[in-house]
């Protein structure tokens, strides 16, 4: 279980996170929502080691993640994606995913230089894994294309495949639907459900309320660096604090 305790991040005098605590139930899809500047991405960065929190701690299955570098956190099975599209731009989709498979490879420097035969076997196994992941996100027809040449929505799928390649136990998705068409968002929602079915816990930051309410088991609402509500989507939608903080004013039926 991924647990966040009293997590605090300050930038100078500004508290981006002001003592945030929550736990992500294994096997669930949990969403973090909140208005812009609520601290959602900051929380992601602090959990995954891209930002050193000024206070509090993050544990995964009881072991502390705070203070570890991103790569070490990834090795423990906690993998994130980025809010802004983030691929290896000049490489093909297949090569993007091959980099994602880094942790599944074992070849060290000496073995590589000696040209060990078993490495060829490992390489072809990795290539097969990459092909399967690319099929999984639905980019089979784009496998050989350069990532930077793909559409925005397709690049987000590449990103997803790269993250999945690292074999996450917990996958943190930072606005996976941003900039996607409605149809693409439906596809992503379906993918996220499929990912959960493979026993991967998903923690999601997303602005699209239809998507959040449609796929989440639990929704956590951040505002001003604090958790103001946590619960099932229906509870959150009815929660007066959330309506006040997040949606502004409560509106009657149109």
């Amino acid at each position: 279980m991924l647990a966040v305790r009293d997590l605090a991040v300050r930038f100078g005098g500004v508290a981006a996170l002001d003592g945030v605590s929550f736990a992500v139930r294994p096997g669930s899809i949990t969403s973090v929502i909140g208005p812009n500047g609520a601290g959602k991405t900051t929380a992601f960065n602090a959990i995954t080691g891209y930002l050193r929190p000024t206070g509090g701690r993050v544990t995964y299955d009881g072991a502390p993640l705070t203070g570890l570098r991103p790569a070490a956190i990834a090795r423990r099975g906690v993998v994130r994606t980025f809010q802004r599209t983030s691929v290896f731009p000049s490489l093909s989709v297949a090569d993007n995913v091959m980099i994602g498979l880094h942790l599944r490879g074992t070849a060290g420097l000496l073995a590589v230089l000696a040209g060990r035969r078993r490495l060829a076997g490992e390489e072809s196994r990795l290539a097969a894994d990459a092909a399967a992941l690319i099929e999984f996100v639905g980019l089979g027809h784009r496998r050989r294309e350069t990532a930077s040449g793909l559409s925005y929505g397709e690049q987000r799928l590449v990103e997803l495949a790269v993250a999945l390649a690292a074999r996450p136990r917990v996958l943190l998705l930072d606005e996976p639907g941003a900039g996607m068409s409605a149809a693409e968002k439906v596809g992503v929602s379906r993918l996220i459900r499929k990912i959960r079915e493979q026993d991967v816990t998903v923690l999601l930051v997303e602005h699209d309320m239809r998507m959040v309410m449609g796929i989440s088991d639990t929704v956590i609402v951040l505002n001003g660096g604090r958790v103001i509500a946590e619960g099932a989507p229906a509870e959150i939608q009815a929660h007066p604090d959330v309506i006040r903080a997040y949606l502004g004013t409560a509106r009657g039926p149109a």
Binding site: T48, Y50, R69, P70, A71, A72, A74, R75, V79, R80, T81, F82, S86, V87, F88, P89, S90, L91, S92, D95, M98, I99, G100, L101, H102, L103, G105, A107, L109, V112, L113, G115, L119, E123, L126, R144, E159, V162, A163, A165, A166
Partner: protein, 320 residues
């Protein structure tokens, strides 16, 4: 097409001493030594994306180590060569550790400063290096009972070194280690998010690259038979950068193409023009090359070949 493209250069390289004059063979040997250096620089610049502007330092460390060990301690060439590579590699490790968190301009500055310090040491530690006078009389290498003193023998030694470095680069690049290098170049935060310890791989690249440059330095020392602080000249580094960039950084063949072109070109110009015109023509050619082939010769030509309609659409284009 690709098979011919692969075997023809190899065949030409193997038979070169049969149909070249001694002078041309000298040019070929220098091209080979620069080929080793360009391959070495390309590992850092082309694959990890970090520009080392102090690469002459690793070259010079290799040259001095090999020369001093054979002259002062009367080691034979081969262990001296290995020591040159080891010491240059250790220097690469040091620079890599120094610049763990430094990228881009800061990495460039660290490498330049390192080269500056090493160069000063070579000038001022006179007891060891003989200062600006340099070290004459570096012995020619021997292989068992044979001396590799002749140009054609030395040519094959250099050719073997080029082949070795090429094979090392090729194996690295086609492995998960090479992919980690490229991941650092392409998108460092993303690489870290999937568990690639980028700083570790930057150090690996620096060590291998520096050891290779040290190999080039040793070959240079035992070929010219003389080592002086000139081996640390910034010109050497710039030449390596030009070779890598013009040939095509981040490709396996690019540095070799660049090394041959930019060794042969100045020699050719020297034969046909006075020196002012040489430099002018050299500069002009470089500008034209970068203007028309900004990605380098090899990537642009392979893109051209891949872009043409082919009979076998399944064939894979050479990776850029």
């Amino acid at each position: 097409m690709t098979r011919i493209g692969r075997w023809l250069p190899a065949l030409v390289a193997l038979t070169l001493p049969l149909w070249l004059s001694t002078y041309h063979l000298h040019v070929a040997i220098m091209a080979g030594i620069f080929g080793v250096l360009a391959l070495s620089l390309n590992l850092l610049l082309g694959y990890t994306g970090q520009l080392s502007l102090g690469h002459a330092a690793f070259f010079g460390i290799g040259a001095y180590t090999s020369a001093l060990l054979t002259l002062r301690l009367e080691w034979s060439f081969w262990p001296a060569l290995a020591a040159a590579m080891a010491l240059a590699g250790a220097a690469g490790w040091f620079v890599g550790r120094l610049s763990l968190k430094l990228r881009g301009a800061y990495f460039v500055l660290v490498t330049i400063s390192f080269a500056g310090v090493i160069s000063l040491v070579s000038v001022n530690w006179i007891e060891l290096t003989n200062g600006p006078l340099g070290l004459p009389g570096v012995p020619a290498p021997e292989l068992g009972p044979w001396s590799l003193r002749t140009k054609s023998a030395y040519y094959y030694l250099v050719l073997a070194a080029v082949a070795l470095c090429y094979a090392v680069c090729r194996r690295l690049v086609n492995s998960r280690i090479g992919r980690a290098f490229v991941a650092l170049r392409e998108n460092e935060p993303l690489a870290e998010s999937v568990g690639v310890e980028v700083t570790h791989y930057l150090v690996v690249a620096a060590v291998v690259s520096a050891a290779m440059a040290g190999l080039g330095g040793s070959l240079y020392a035992h070929y010219t038979r003389f080592v002086s602080p000139e081996v640390f000249l910034f010109t050497y580094t710039v030449t390596m950068v030009i070779m890598v960039v013009a040939g095509g950084k981040g490709t396996l063949a690019g540095p070799l193409v660049g090394a041959v072109l930019f060794t042969v070109l100045p020699e050719t110009l020297r034969a046909v023009a006075s020196w002012q015109w040489q430099m002018l023509a050299y500069g002009l050619l470089l500008v034209l090359l970068l203007f028309f082939l900004p990605r380098g010769i090899v990537p642009q030509i392979s893109a051209y070949i891949a872009g043409r309609p082919r009979s076998d659409p399944g064939a894979r284009a050479p990776s850029p």
